[in-house]
């Protein structure tokens, strides 16, 4: 294609965009809205999975012994756990310490409720806190610790607990967010495409005479099609650009105002720099693609070139 032809197609594309003012506006808005919602879901999913990562790193295994396990037995178990190569450290938490922590976690009310459970009356078992070198080995280590019971007739280990539940819950939330998001976004994307193809159809109808003359004097089909593709791409690009700007601005405000609070819980948001390329890039690429797709549908249907 000649350079002057490329310029011509671009010129024609922009001309078409301004020619169908309101329809262009409608298609751009629908692209912007649907991609904005897609962006919200993307940000949600991104942050939830980041959160999952962060929690992953804080995960440790709690090994609770039977209440009646004596000191020497506990030490033996501790040694066995330490022998597992993936284990980084083992901390013994005697029942008294466990009760103290429990009480602290209950706050003021708990103090009264837990009155009289000290010393011999302490219902809590001794426990170990086990940390792994690599959080992904947590469940593997947990299984090995559980296996200690197999060679122990007394079955001294009562329970092996780790953050499995929390992490799995988080992942199920992420998945739900993703699935709902996909449905909503698909619906909106179809609507956006429909609007774009209607806009392009109107352009084609408005230019029917011109197109028939182009065909008569021997314009190639691709030559006739290009301006319409460009029109679709322009609608898609600017619609998605608009939604990206709002999305990123909103997100940066959100991060700014809430990160102090959220920081207390030892978690942090995905940073705006991280999000800008990933979410912004995806949305703009998707929007432009949707625009071109919408116009392709119309061109194929109404142009019959």
């Amino acid at each position: 294609m000649r350079f002057s032809t490329v310029l011509r197609h671009l010129r024609e594309g922009f001309k078409n965009v301004s020619r169908n003012g309101w329809m262009t506006f409608a298609s751009m808005s629908s692209i912007a809205v649907s991609l904005f919602i897609l962006g919200v879901f993307m940000l949600l999913a991104l942050n939830v999975s980041k959160l999952a990562d962060q929690l992953d790193n804080q995960v440790q295994i709690n090994v609770y012994l039977q209440v009646d396990v004596e000191q020497p037995k506990a030490e033996e178990i501790e040694r066995t756990i330490k022998r597992i190569p993936e284990v980084k450290s083992v901390t013994f938490v005697p029942k008294a310490e466990g009760l103290k922590r429990f009480r602290e976690s209950m706050g003021e009310e708990g103090k009264a409720a837990l009155e009289g459970y000290e010393n011999e009356n302490n219902p809590l078992p001794d426990a170990f806190e086990v940390e792994a070198f690599n959080p992904q080995q947590i469940s593997f280590i947990a299984k090995q610790i559980e296996a200690i019971n197999l060679t122990d007739p007394a079955k001294s280990i009562a329970k092996v607990k780790y953050g499995k539940d929390t992490i799995e819950k988080l992942f199920s939330i992420t998945n739900a967010v993703r699935n709902i998001g996909i449905f909503i976004v698909l619906g909106l994307a179809v609507m956006a495409m429909f609007l774009i193809s209607t806009t392009i159809k109107m352009t084609i109808i408005a230019r029917r005479r011109e197109i028939s003359i182009m065909k008569l004097v021997g314009a190639k089909n691709s030559f006739i099609r290009w301006p319409f593709f460009i029109e679709g791409a322009i609608i898609g690009f600017f619609g998605s650009l608009f939604s990206t700007l709002i999305l990123l601005f909103g997100y940066s405000q959100l991060v700014k105002t809430t990160s102090a609070t959220v920081g207390l819980y030892m978690i942090e948001f995905a940073s705006i720099d991280e999000v800008r390329m990933l979410v912004g890039g995806t949305i703009i690429a998707l929007g432009t693609l949707l625009g071109v797709w919408g116009s392709t549908i119309s061109v194929r249907k109404y142009l019959k070139v």
Partner: protein
């Protein structure tokens, strides 16, 4: 140049427009197509510039078997055929110059060539001084001249003119005919459908008469042959 072998054309609605047409038109000929309305003249013309394809039979234009042409190749065949209509079919928002240049633009001619060639053909049709006028500012005859300029600007081998003088008064019509004859004289084959008895009988050329979808007469230096 144009060759039709046993051409049949039946439209989707069941009307049969042409039934077994055989014709050969040589390079540089000037042919009138005459006949009553609805006899198949327009279909005959449309087959030449491949607006329609025959239901049966073979048609070749300028060496291309255009009935069997791939869609991709159609534009290249059309570049060799200039088409002129009764209603001019100019783009109302473009000036005379732009309307003519448009035909060169869409086949991706370099810009400087477009300017030179467009002015050249506008001069040939006698409208150089009205290059920047819009169609609405031109008379019917002038608009048809612009349409002719557009048809010849890419130097086609064939001009297909469907009643080019149909909307024009006699005097203007003669101007258009002189122009077409000039173009024919320069080496372009011209096929012209017409109802204009006076032109056919005065400017004697080959006459092909079509009635009810068949050629009923094919005569060199023929006359119109119908009473109006």
């Amino acid at each position: 140049m144009i060759e039709m072998q046993d051409i049949w054309k039946t439209y989707a609605d069941g009307t049969t427009a042409l039934q077994g047409v055989n014709v050969v038109i040589d390079r540089n000929e000037f042919v009138y197509i005459v006949g009553p309305s609805g006899a198949g003249k327009s279909t005959f013309m449309k087959l030449i510039y491949r607006e329609e394809v025959p239901t049966k039979g073979q048609i070749s234009v300028n060496g291309f078997n255009i009935g069997k042409l791939k869609h991709r190749k159609i534009p290249y065949v059309r570049r060799n055929i200039g088409v002129i209509f009764q209603d001019y079919k100019l783009l109302p928002k473009l000036s005379a110059f732009e309307n003519v240049a448009f035909a060169m633009e869409v086949i991706e001619t370099p810009r400087r060539l477009i300017r030179r060639r467009t002015m050249e053909v506008l001069e040939l049709v006698g409208l150089k001084h009205k290059a920047s006028s819009l169609p609405a500012q031109l008379s019917g005859g002038e608009q048809q001249r612009v349409a002719i300029a557009r048809a010849i600007v890419n130097s086609p081998a064939v001009i297909v003119a469907d009643e080019p003088t149909g909307n024009l008064d006699p005097e203007t019509s003669w101007g258009i005919m002189n122009l077409l004859e000039e173009i024919n004289f320069r080496g372009t084959t011209i096929v012209m459908a017409t109802h204009n008895k006076e032109i056919v009988n005065t400017l004697r050329k080959r006459v092909i008469a079509i009635e009810r979808g068949t050629i009923v007469r094919d005569q060199q230096r023929g006359d119109y042959g119908y009473e109006i």
